[in-house]
Symmetry: D2
Subunit: 449 residues, 4 copies
């Protein structure tokens, strides 16, 4: 065997055990004891996790007249250094274009650059018959979901009738719908009013995105999705009220899933009043304690299935663009800190078992997005692995990270546990703080049945 | 005293007692025993109710290229013959016009024609600053509510942001908002699809107006109203699901009220498949047993406060207009049968006390719409009275009714109890099956604080 | 006419109007203008309320080796001075005795002493066939309810099976069940533990009566009552959690009613830590802000129908009896302050209309307990009346009150509005701070169909 | 290696993969390809599941004057033939005895007889300080839970206060409480009434165990457990209403788990009216369609975590004992049919993935009951394995089963999928319809941290 990791504590979503792991041709081929390979990595006293799937990243993504700071190279480099071996990026349908063209455009950017594997959400902006017609082919091509940005429904010249029609088509095709849920007409009205009143600083940002704008969109989509017979995955959910609605739907048997981000689980809206408030501008906004508690509770109890970074890195210069919170590019970098933050605050914080952690960042996204060669340490799966040291205590600093954004909102936070080595399809792409991967190593992975 | 009604059983919303009632100058001036007047009416063995307030009528109302069959004369004549002494009609803002103009236009029609008193809802169609600015004056002029037709929000070039702004203004002014709640984008899409598929007969009508379209609109408005701090009155509510949402809001202390119609409480959507299915086309559509049970339960338990007729009469010829359910003018006549149907099925049916009946059709609308001289039999109130014979059993026939529509969907139904005499401001306008009122006797009554 | 009250503002639960009220033979015989009687009371600028029905008092009631400080004379004297013209006292079945005997024993005490009218709850302690058999006769004799003290179920040698059987019998007979709901096995266990640990001071009292002990008993009784088909009236309800369960049952159509006391609506459990903590010992205990807010919200929205004092007066000496919170006689005096506190904090506090106030303290208990000659100002009703001055501002002091307890927990509180005159069956029993009634004037009033 | 299973499709709760499995010394030591052992079993085209853990069996269990028909030999033989490699039996505290003595008594029966491994619930009947004191040692000895039979609380001379104290002790010790939840006072009352009325046949059995008796007990225990800070596992849950309460508690973050049985998921209470109605007598009773749907929905959505057989076998002669449903020994045999029924109706029925199936019958009970060497196919775990043929269609007959009860309520049902081989700690105990194990091979497995 090319590579053997010896004596680690293997953590899958539903079991923990200790053994050696043998890798050949980028796949896991042996689990056992006394294995030996051409190369051997000792994981004694360490966890061995399946590589993370970061269910939402925005690499080289146009936004507010600029682009997210990370392209597919720097973004997946940061991912690799954080234990992430698959990123799912968002392919947004262009003006007048098709979803397939959007997917192709992403491939053109990602293919030569990606260090780890990537998958793609197909994000609709044109609710026209042509788009509806390409859905079956889209999913043959491996898109992992059909994404809808509810906040921009009107901007996309769609109404709830068009939305229902799309949901029905998706339901008919068995396609999972990913929804970013906020009532855009509400937030635009409130934003315009704030700007007109001269309330332009970041502290006025959350007022333009009240909790009820999210709750409304979630309640509405739950009703429409039930009527349409389609499963919904709410991305970057942020409010207690929305989870109340989701819990009720799930108790009723409706197939609904929810995702949270470490930012929304750990950070408070009071930060918008800090000196660097613009760095916290993200959609949806940071919320209050009751919301954060609800997200953690949902994760513990199983109504939140996935934690993803929604990595949207911007430099401090980019974050200073424009003259109001409305022109600040929204986003927070996070793919590299996803695992260590969740381990520190979830597992060490007593809220999650280590198996639940693996479920939330690897197994569940693999299952929900049909990436069946990922998400577990098992024979035949891709050798995407993280050696994680639970005893590595450190203080997080932006300078130690690998994003071109050059900034982290968690700067100075203490971490209890950190990835030591990341392996992508059997190749070591990160080791002991050092990036060891190469551009273009990553491959596209598509949804399979 | 000009008129004394002797020995009736007086029924107010919160008390029942037996006495004589003395009337002078159109007002109740004495309650006692052994009263005697210029004219005396014996009510021994009869109930004496405060005159009904029919909270929603549509008289001389343009619809689908025609007009409702009743003008203010024939409509209020029918009302008077059913025990209704106040109708609240709907003044719809015209294209390019103001709400005050709409109110004036209604006055021009109603003033010379109305037999009994009338009040007016002001129904907004233009969400522009000019309309917002006239709200305070509008309510000085006595409009009883600001009405919003959610189903036509897009047709009125408004979105949820504009809706929120309107709700905030209404909340600030302390104005009650009456909402006809249905998601129009959904119903239009489904209607268009049905028509395109050739599913044009009445049996396809309810499919274009599914329960979730109402539930969605109610849930959305509840969230926006809570944020805006405004009280909402849902008119012609029809679904169990909407009442579930309303109950939750009320348990949380939100000021929310609901109204039902006898049609939605008594008739089933299976009727759309009958030969005269077009006569049952009404918005919202008739629903199923679980919905009807929920409306009755809400009325019994206090979460539905008002029952109104939503009298929209059309002749059989008018109902045959057009080539699909979408061109059939929607509406059911009902002001004349409101009281006897509710008494028969509510009180005799064991679901309501006679006091709850009076609350639902007289006291509660008086209170909610600020018609403080109406709604009770008490000194100083307008002498709007109904002598009701609980032992008058009859079979309802369209020919016995007084609407120009000439049709009732309750034809052939048995009634247990019927109004014997209706008195409007001290004048007998109906007696023993005979209309005795006159055009123009009715006056406008405005909301007072 | 013997007595006319002129020009007051009459307040019934569902209407407000201004007129003169004529009284003859203890009944209201005329409502009108320009009335004149042998005696005339001017009520210009004052409210005229129907006399209050205090739905729960405990006069001459044995408790913890002593008796409540007020007998039927002093207790109804205090009531009269507070605007209460009917008290409903509790007749508790004695050891080995029958419920009818308990009723008779109360009559023996009340008949010669009562200043205002009284009614009786029949409180069961022996769940034996003999008791079940006397229920029909009991209600022929006019008991207003069958009361169950759930906290003492085991003490009464009954279990949930016996409780179910009783509820079924009551349901079959159409008898309203009044429940004081707390899980006694829980509270006894916690109390015993506190005492064993030497935690004997009042501050340890609420810990022995946790909210969940009430919530549990309410949830259990709701389920059993639904199965048994019987209506339940929860007396002295105190927790938000219990109201959540009650709201759900009501939304489902179950006939359930709730009563609160001013003490539980206005006072906080932190008072148990004050120097005179024993004066706040009452069952159930005072709770926290969220519970008080829920009670007010319930009253505003209609899920709490009645406010009663649960007048259980003890002198300061009695309250000092014993050596722990468990031997302190539980109870708070309150019949004389019921009206002014509720007016001050409810009506002036913006939470209740004056009609809702009258509903809660007069009309609703009259309706629920079948006292059909009470609860409204209407022809033929008993002339039980309160002239209430809404502009009478004063500071409440124990010395101004008429209970033999000599103490009020509201000492020093500001009142906005106070009763000026109380009239019982046409006789003035209180006027301008002076008690003017006489022992034995009060009569028993029984439930009628 | 002693044994290799080649080419099966490995199913764990969170992943599926194909490989060979190598066994040595009763443990899984290798997962990989091209493995070879002393003995080789080909599993091509078959599933390889971790051996089932049947979370509730009642072997050699006294009941109603008789004993369950299966002792530890015949019961575990039946288990082995159905793919079950661990049974968790119930050790009931004897009169005057201790829980540890009950555990020892079970060991004496099971040790020499068990074919597969066994674990033990410790079922309390004496709520005395001595019992409370032995809890820590009990769990050092490996009992997997503290079981409470709520229906027999009074029979065990305990009340809700004693229950609370026990829950607090369990919470303090971190012990999982298993609850069989029914209100015994209710069911005894209803049963006594039925018998007194001569309603003695099986069709009268469910009436004595109404749904609300379960819902009440569940709601009560949820409140007490939340106060006590202890996790609850509801065994053999049967009603929709109870799941509604459990869902609410879980949404609120309370650690609560639920278990269902195939009997309650598949059989209807109408069967009590059949000729062999006594065979369906089981506690709790079979319910109605809405309850069954709720159990399946709970299993799909994650609020029901475990499916267990509650194997209580009785012969037809035993089931005919006595003269009423109350003397019929309650119980249904089921350990041998657990897997195939759940596969047929859950997986083939489209309600469960094969991973969810494994979670419900193996991984989740292993996790919840601390049997960390069981529940997954992973290196180091016990080699408890089932080769399952998804294409084995057969008709179930009692004669093909291995219980001494000689009866199955599923006689004649079609099965789609059946176990082909069962391996316990590396030894084949069942193969192709033939039992190949031996008495005494099974070992006790205790809970570990």
């Amino acid at each position: 065997m090319e590579l053997v990791i010896t004596n680690g504590t293997i953590v899958n979503a539903s079991e923990t055990f200790r053994c050696d792991v043998g890798v050949q041709n980028g796949r896991i081929v042996a689990l056992g004891t006394d294995l030996s390979g051409d190369e051997n990595l000792d994981a004694t006293g360490k966890y061995l996790f399946p590589g993370l799937i970061d269910a939402h990243t925005y690499l080289e993504h146009p936004s507010h007249g600029t682009r997210t700071a990370d392209n597919f190279f720097s973004g997946t480099r940061a991912a690799a250094c954080g234990g992430v071996t698959t990123v799912i990026d968002v392919a947004v349908q262009g003006e007048g274009g098709s979803l397939l063209e959007a997917i192709e455009a992403r491939h053109a950017l990602a293919g030569p650059q990606a260090v780890v594997d990537y998958a793609l959400h197909a994000s609709i902006t044109r609710f026209v018959p042509e788009t509806f017609a390409e859905l079956p082919e889209l999913f043959n091509e491996g898109a992992v979901s059909l994404r809808i940005d509810l906040a921009r429904l009107a901007a996309h010249e769609a109404d709830d009738g068009a939305l229902l029609a799309l949901l029905e088509t998706a339901g008919h095709e068995g396609i999972l719908v990913v929804a970013q849920a906020e009532n855009g007409a509400i937030t635009e009205r409130l934003q315009a009013r704030a700007l007109a009143d001269g309330r332009v600083s970041p502290e006025h940002f959350p007022g333009a995105h009240p909790a009820f704008a999210e709750i409304e969109a979630v309640q509405r989509l739950l009703l429409l999705a039930e009527a349409a017979g389609v499963a919904i995955y709410f991305s970057a959910l942020s409010t207690h009220g929305a989870l109340v609605a989701i819990n009720a739907a799930r108790a009723n048997g409706q197939p609904v899933y929810a995702e949270a981000t470490p930012s929304h689980m750990l950070l408070d809206s009071s930060l918008y009043g800090s000196l660097d408030g613009q760095h916290y501008i993200v959609e949806p906004p940071l919320r209050v304690e009751a919301d954060r508690a609800a997200l953690w509770r949902g994760l513990t109890m199983g109504s939140v299935q996935v934690v993803a970074s929604h990595h949207r890195a911007f430099t401090t210069a980019q974050k200073a663009l424009g003259d109001s919170f409305a022109t600040t590019p929204p986003g927070i970098a996070g793919t590299e800190t996803l695992l260590s933050l969740l381990y520190t605050h979830g597992v060490k914080g007593g809220k999650l078992s280590v198996n639940q952690l693996v479920g939330a960042v690897s197994t569940n996204p693999a299952e929900l997005f049909g990436l069946h060669n990922k998400g577990a340490i098992a024979i035949g799966k891709d050798a995407d692995l993280v050696i994680f040291n639970p005893n590595d205590k450190r203080i997080l600093t932006a300078s130690a990270l690998h994003s071109e954004g050059g900034h982290t909102v968690f700067d100075g936070w203490e971490l209890n546990g950190y990835p030591e080595t990341t392996i992508s399809r059997g190749r070591i792409v990160y080791e002991q703080g050092r990036f060891t991967g190469e551009k273009g190593m990553g491959r596209f992975v598509g949804r399979t049945a």
